[in-house]
């Protein structure tokens, strides 16, 4: 697994963190949640999801809150919330800059 600390979230990571931002969730529910939320635009393989969950735990963005057999439930941590909000702000800024640039040139 990559040992470098997270700096920017990928699209898939962002949606996973978004899922936990709303509520505690089991890992197996996340893929279905993201697929439904994005209407199939964002897909997530089980290997990708597993890697992201491992990385988030290592970075202390989520924590285990319970387990039922092999199913484990996670909740977002305070650091995870901050990371999500920071990423949200960054994306909004990008979008705003893009819209402003489009307005300047008369295109959008």
């Amino acid at each position: 697994m990559s040992k470098k600390p997270l700096e920017i979230l990928t699209e898939t990571m962002f949606y996973v963190l978004m899922a936990f931002y709303r509520q505690e969730m089991c890992g197996t529910e996340i893929a279905r949640y993201v697929r439904e939320l994005t209407k199939g635009e964002v897909s997530m393989g089980p290997g990708t999801l597993y890697t992201i969950l491992s990385q988030f735990q290592r970075e202390d963005l989520i924590e285990k809150t319970g387990s039922e057999g092999r199913k484990i439930t996670y909740a977002i941590t305070e650091r995870g919330r901050q990371m999500y909000q920071s990423e949200l702000r960054r994306l909004r800024r990008c979008l705003a800059d893009a819209e402003a640039a489009g307005a300047e040139r008369g295109k959008l």
Partner: protein, 420 residues
């Protein structure tokens, strides 16, 4: 053998997991399902053909993680229950997402594997370069005498098998290198290839592996055949007598060794070995080696004024050949002398312009006599008379006064008399 099981000698590179995915997938389409896999043998079980099945391989990471298994199951991927260093997953659901849907997570998951592969690649590269470089001069300096030395050393069959072994091993080495480099590059870019062709590579791999095993068997058989050990009582020079005495070549050295034999008590020779052999070039070949020492306390040598404070020891080696023709004997001896001189020049024991003629001594009764050495280095003697060759070398202490003893029979007899 059970008809519902197939045992396949699989020589696809063990770490070429992309091709192995295609292989297992195609076998499933024909109704053969992966049951167990190993380094060379894969076991399949008969079932209904499943054209839609996909297999994917991931390197194992530590202990099995139940959560990972659960996530994969939720994604439609089941795991093959097989031991080994790979986790193998499969799905029959065409709508199931691939295990990794973005390159970054794939690269992160495979980071340890690609790091290990890179390390192995470096080791393989360094080893390969070293082996080629080490043998390149021998290959480029191919001469009949060198060829004969190789035949004498390992036998004609072994010599024929060695190029086969080297070419096949070299081919597999190159294939491993190219394949691993490609895998590492793709992991670094977060990509993986599915649906690779495997049939031609498998066929070539099987042929190469069989050839390597056969050539290894020939090499092993060649090394075990035709040899016999000789005891000291059986040892005899197959000349009627030595063709030349040391006193004819180096009278002063001979005086010293004779004095040493007279004045020292030699212990039993240890590490005495003698064997007889034959091959396509030589009807008879006798090899003798032994080490003797006296174990005496420090000994003063008035002729040099030096006192030996350490255990006095000499090592003696001799080879006696009866070639199948005089021509073979001549070419072979030329090869041996050339190789020894080359080695001595490299180590600085001889000047660079030394050749057979420069070490030749005028000795009656032989077709060729060559000698070089001194008290500080090993001494070497080469004799040929017709089909018969005698090659002897001796090395003693660096400051030893014990020089080459050519009179092997006399020396051994002296030992036997002293031991009685």
């Amino acid at each position: 053998m059970r008809k519902d099981r197939k045992y396949v000698f699989e020589t696809l590179m063990y770490r070429d997991f992309e091709r192995r995915e295609s292989y297992y997938t195609d076998m499933a389409a024909e109704g053969w399902y992966l049951k167990k896999y190993g380094l060379c043998v894969t076991v399949f079980e008969r079932g209904e053909p499943e054209p839609g099945r996909r297999y994917r391989l991931l390197p194992k990471k530590g202990t099995p993680d139940p959560e990972k298994r659960e996530l994969f199951l939720a994604g439609g991927w089941k795991q093959v229950e097989a031991s080994g260093s790979w986790d193998i997953y499969y799905t029959d659901d065409s709508s199931a997402e691939e295990l990794f849907t973005d390159g970054i997570s794939y690269r992160s998951y495979m980071a340890d594997f690609s790091g290990g592969e890179l390390l192995w690649l470096i080791i393989f590269l360094v080893t390969g370069i070293w082996m080629v470089y080490g043998n390149l001069s021998a290959l480029l300096l191919f001469k009949p005498g060198t060829w004969m030395m190789a035949v004498d050393e390992v036998g004609i069959c072994v010599l024929a098998a060695m190029p086969v072994f080297l070419i096949c091993s070299g081919g597999l080495w190159i294939d491993y290198f190219i394949t691993s480099a490609g895998i590492i590059r793709r992991i670094k870019h977060g990509t993986v290839r599915h649906g690779l062709s495997w049939k031609r590579k498998t066929r070539i791999g099987r042929i190469a592996t069989v050839l390597i095993l056969v050539s290894l068997a020939v090499v092993l058989a060649g090394s075990l055949s035709g040899r016999g050990d000789l005891s000291r009582d059986e040892l005899q020079n197959f000349h009627a007598e030595h063709p030349v005495q040391l006193e004819e070549i180096d009278p002063s050295a001979n005086r010293v060794i004779q004095r040493c034999i007279r004045t020292n008590v030699w212990e039993d020779p240890n590490a005495f070995e003698a064997s007889v052999d034959s091959n396509v070039l030589f009807r008879n070949k006798i090899t003798v080696s032994y080490t003797v020492g006296d174990g005496k306390p420090p000994m003063y040598h008035p002729e040099t004024g030096i006192t030996d404070f350490i255990y006095n020891q000499m090592d003696y080696q001799a080879r006696y050949y009866e070639a199948r023709s005089e021509r073979i004997a001549r070419i072979f001896l030329e090869g041996v002398i050339s190789e020894d001189i080359r080695s001595a020049v490299r180590s600085g024991d001889l000047p660079s312009d030394t050749d057979m003629n420069k070490i030749q001594r005028n000795v009656r009764g032989v077709d060729y006599a060559g000698y070089y050495g001194n008290a500080d280095t090993a001494q070497h003697l080469y004799l040929r008379r017709g089909r018969y060759i005698e090659i002897a070398s001796y090395s003693g202490m660096e400051d030893s006064r014990y020089l080459l003893s050519r009179d092997l029979d006399k020396f051994v007899k002296n030992l036997q008399r002293r031991l009685l």
